[in-house]
């Protein structure tokens, strides 16, 4: 039914005990563990179901799956691990044998002496003379390997410690000699031969595992689902409070679903079950006590993906505001404003459409949807900015630019916002502003204003949510003397700035007056004079929105550099100083295109990452703190039950 969010009974009331699991819960969980270990051996990952199974089929095939197939998998897997271990130890042996190949001794002569001490290893300088000095009776074999001298020194056992001291003066480092017989080369050859045959045994085993995985993938995942469901069901009483004859289940259910829950539960239990709501007053007390009341985010379909961003920060508490709708409004616009390029936007949409088919889990789908909506906005802003793969991009090259005298006229009028891709096709907007060339001075100044404007709106909306949240909790003082002044401060601070920029002193005075009033309100608020400490951060909150312009400028800059490099440096240079595109040589065009593709690809990757991260930060740091900080951190409503993915209902 998936309606009731069960609250675990913590056993702190003497008259109730914690329930015991019912039925075959032990068998189910044992089977589940067995199955999980098999799937782990098979490296089986959860995936979107290809087909579904009825429960009866699972029941009939489970035994075979767990015991026969499972045993097969485990045996195969263990054999593979054993082979891998053996191969590794043989490789180690070969590695220690290789340096001995330079010595003219068979392997058995290194071992099995009672009265002789053996030293085998590498030395930095010849040892014969010094060894002969301490032990006149000796046998020394020397051979030079690639970058060291290999020695084997045989001396009488009683001289061992003295010889060892002499050897260490010569930088002796010991090589362990495997206990084998015969010639070194032939020993290595036989080891290599057996490694080869072990590898040959391993390949079909790996293939067998892959085959088993392919055949049983869906069935295994379905069985996993079935067993998890059964374990959950049979272990549910562990969360109930029971007495000898009765039991109590505590839980939460969405208000509008209560009558459904009541009728279905009472129907199923045949009148032996009583379902009742706790009294309103008691419920109110729970809220005030700060009980973890689960909250369910309820948003229309288009907003759903943005719940991901909310959830990443914190689940809103029962009485808190769910910001998903606000993220839905602001996030894509910010993404688009930063990226703002028709070419990149379309590329992102195409790439994500491909990825959408590949990553089918709900989390990925949500993330992809979030970025895709941002991509659409990037195309829209791209049209405003006149950018297709950067200014002076490909399209610009084809369509042309504003004529020179037009540009000069615009510059003289202080209205030069750069030449856009529309070129001779004309410009839009009240002042002929669009398309805007983002690297032009006027455009930067305009975008600073737009960024700050978005910031003020964004922060104000956050503050309004904060006021509403505090009122929900019945804390009027916090609402009107902590949240409201912040909003007044930020709005009127920017109005004062606007007055300065536009030369309207009346706006400036008005702004300053309200800013002072808001600071006074802050001091009167719950924090007292300590509230003043936050004032600089309210200004830095606003300045932070400049990143909407700044990150965008960085990506435009890179795109611009790529286009300049290809069209105005590399291509003319390689075609002997030609400046007309018609005169470019084939080589120049090929090299130019390679450079364009490489730089634009890097820029596109950055262009997905930073327009995503920075608006995210603007939401988390600048906006959420305005209403999440005091409370925050709720529990998500997760009703008892299981979603059937691989099982037929």
């Amino acid at each position: 039914m998936r309606l009731l969010h069960i609250v675990n009974y913590n056993g702190n009331q003497p008259e109730f005990e914690i329930g015991k699991s019912i039925g075959k819960s032990k068998e189910y969980s044992e089977d589940l563990i067995k199955l999980r270990s098999i799937t782990r051996y098979l490296d089986l990952k959860n995936k979107a179901p290809d087909k579904t199974f009825p429960e009866s089929q699972i029941l009939s095939e489970m035994d075979n799956l767990l015991n026969n197939v499972g045993a097969d998998v485990i045996a195969t897997y263990e054999r593979i691990t054993a082979i891998e271990a053996e191969v590794k130890s043989k490789q180690d042996t070969i590695r220690s044998l290789t340096p001995l190949a330079v010595l003219p001794l068979p392997l058995e002569s290194y071992h099995g002496y009672d009265s002789l001490a053996t030293f085998v290893g590498t030395v930095a300088s010849p040892v014969d003379a010094d060894v002969a000095r301490v032990s006149p009776v000796n046998e020394i074999y020397t051979g030079s390997a690639k970058n060291a001298t290999q020695v084997a020194v045989f001396v009488p056992a009683e001289k061992a410690s003295e010889v060892s001291a002499v050897l260490s003066e010569h930088g002796f480092s010991e090589t362990s000699v495997p206990k084998l017989e015969g010639n070194v080369d032939s020993a290595i050859a036989s080891l290599e031969g057996s490694i080869k045959s072990l590898e040959a045994e391993k390949t079909p085993l790996l293939k067998k595992l892959a085959d088993i995985k392919k055949q049983n993938e869906d069935l295994m995942l379905a069985t996993d689902e079935y067993l998890s469901m059964q374990t959950q069901k049979t272990e549910a009483p562990l969360r109930f409070a029971v007495t000898e004859n009765a039991f109590v289940i505590d839980g939460y259910v969405p208000s509008d679903q209560f009558s459904r829950l009541k009728s279905e539960l009472e129907g199923a239990a045949g009148g032996k079950l009583e379902v009742s709501l706790i009294a309103d007053k008691e419920a109110q007390e729970l809220v005030e006590k700060g009980e973890d009341i689960p909250s369910q985010m309820d948003n229309p379909g288009v907003v759903k993906p943005y719940e991901l961003i909310t959830r990443l920060f914190a689940i809103p508490e029962y009485k808190e505001f769910d910001p998903s709708l606000l993220i839905f409004v602001f996030f894509p616009i910010m993404f688009g404003m930063i990226l703002g390029d028709v070419g990149y936007g379309i590329m992102i949409l195409l790439i994500l459409l491909g990825l959408k088919k590949k990553f089918r889990t709900p989390g990925w789908q949500q993330l992809i949807n979030v970025v895709m909506i941002g991509g659409v906005w990037a195309v829209i802003f791209g049209i405003f900015y006149g950018e297709i793969f950067g200014p002076l991009g490909l399209w610009n090259y084809a369509i042309g630019m504003l004529s020179h005298h037009e540009m000069v006229a615009l510059q003289e009028a202080g209205l030069f916002f750069g030449e856009g891709v529309f070129g001779s096709l004309g410009r839009l907007g009240p002042l002929g502003v669009f398309p805007l060339y983002r690297l032009a001075t006027n455009a930067v100044l305009l975008l600073i204003g737009v960024s700050l404007f978005i910031g003020v709106v964004h922060c104000s909306v956050g503050s309004i949510c904060g006021i509403k949240t505090e009122l929900n909790y019945g804390e009027k003082k916090h609402a009107y003397f902590e949240r409201l002044p912040v909003m007044l401060f930020q709005v009127f601070f920017s109005i004062a700035l606007l007055g300065l920029v536009m030369g309207q002193s009346i706006l400036t005075y008005l702004g300053i007056i309200v800013v002072v009033i808001s600071v006074v309100m802050l001091v009167m608020g719950p924090e007292g004079p300590m509230g003043l400490a936050h004032v600089p951060s309210y200004i830095s909150n606003l300045i932070s929105y400049l990143r909407l312009l700044a990150i965008g400028l960085a990506s435009v800059g890179l795109a611009y550099a790529a286009n300049q490099l290809a069209f105005y440096v590399i291509m003319p240079m390689l075609s002997g100083g030609a400046h007309n595109s018609a005169e470019f040589s084939t080589l120049a065009i090929i090299v130019g295109i390679v450079i364009l593709v490489a730089v634009h690809f890097i820029n596109l990757l950055l262009g997905i990452l930073s327009p995503f991260m920075h608006p995210l930060r603007l939401h988390y740091v600048e906006m959420f703190t305005k209403f999440y900080s005091a409370h925050g951190g709720g529990v998500e409503y997760s009703p008892f039950g299981h979603v059937r993915r691989f099982l037929k209902a």
Binding site: T441, I448, V621
Partner: protein, 88 residues
């Protein structure tokens, strides 16, 4: 001693100042983020649910570089005493 400076030199110095403002702010933000980033990765390895809050902490020092950039923009474009010198 007379200081001789033409408009071009002044504009050049302005550009150097703007570059330093953004660049040094960037270094500062990087130093700040270094410790936080390491700590956040550590926490997320233990507790994946902390990712959102970790990201939040991690991005806090990023504002520093925006301050630097704001100063640069003001120097380059908006400071009237120098705006007259800037020759397009």
């Amino acid at each position: 001693m007379a200081v001789v400076a033409d408009a071009g030199t002044l504009y050049g110095l302005l550009a150097v100042g703007a570059g330093l403002a953004t660049g040094l702010a960037g270094i500062g933000a990087g130093v700040g983020e270094q410790g936080i980033g390491a700590a956040v990765v550590g926490v997320v390895a233990e507790e994946p649910g902390f990712l959102g809050k970790g990201l939040f902490l991690m991005l806090l020092p990023e504002t520093l570089i925006i301050f630097g950039l704001a100063v640069s923009l003001i120097l380059m474009f908006a400071w009237t005493p120098f705006a007259g010198i800037v020759t397009p």
